[in-house]
Symmetry: C2
Subunit: 173 residues, 2 copies
Amino acid sequence: MENKEIFKGKIFTLEQIDVTIHNKEYRRDIIRHPGGVGVLLIVDDKVLLVKQMRHAIDQETLEIPAGKLEYGEDPMTAGLRELNEEAGYECKRLKPIIHFVSTPGFCDEVIWLYEAIEPYVTKHKLAMDEDEEITKVWIDLKEIQQMLQNNQIIDGKTIIALQYALLERRDVK
Amino acid sequence: MENKEIFKGKIFTLEQIDVTIHNKEYRRDIIRHPGGVGVLLIVDDKVLLVKQMRHAIDQETLEIPAGKLEYGEDPMTAGLRELNEEAGYECKRLKPIIHFVSTPGFCDEVIWLYEAIEPYVTKHKLAMDEDEEITKVWIDLKEIQQMLQNNQIIDGKTIIALQYALLERRDVK
């Protein structure tokens, strides 16, 4: 299997690899990505989502606080940073929810999801990157199922985190 | 906003776009993808997953039957095709579960999820693409929650479809 780098950008790298399937060779275009992290923050049965412009889809989305990993960075460290930068919160610990591949057909991005346990407002707010533009929105957990059904939340990692929250709190309806 | 095509492959296109944030210009690398479809198939409280090699992550995954859209193709048509090709099933209708963006930070891929309603084994099985290699696995819904907790299922769209199934069938525990 020979890898050939086609493009190297700030966020991802594009490679071509040769794979053998049923004794035949195929070329595949692959995106190499350092991975990402997302944090579920629930305070008083309200979930924090951030509204932001996503230029790839030319649309605003509602997402859990999240960000890209640096290559080799510990996902939990990144999770605590994004929780501070985007939400203005710290927490006693991050509980792992799940990690998953966003779109394994052509990309190796792994996203690590955590829940913020015993969260509290930080006294040491970190600055966001200057090219980030977000608005914080608190949404009652009771409204989440309806918002999912209405497809008002369209970000994959956010859907996974919210479905997890609903499954964990089956009493909330 | 000026778009510049950097690479055009079989599955996706890489573009650079210029975006303005807080009155400053930034260049963003964007993947354009035709989108995908996935189908939740449950028969007698067992979910059909397909085991397949994902070369982007060099790992086997368990996923719901799924595939890429042709540009402009109706997602439901594609869903019925994948249900036939990968599962060997047809159904009375496909019920929309949700559609979502897999990784909106850099990619415009939308994945459409459906549930197969009143499924039955097809008498007219379509052939799979010659570069596909899958094995069918039926898994009891009761085992799914444990498998998610153990992170045995790592594909994003599959996690969303399975959590949906668990939320819909709160009696199954």
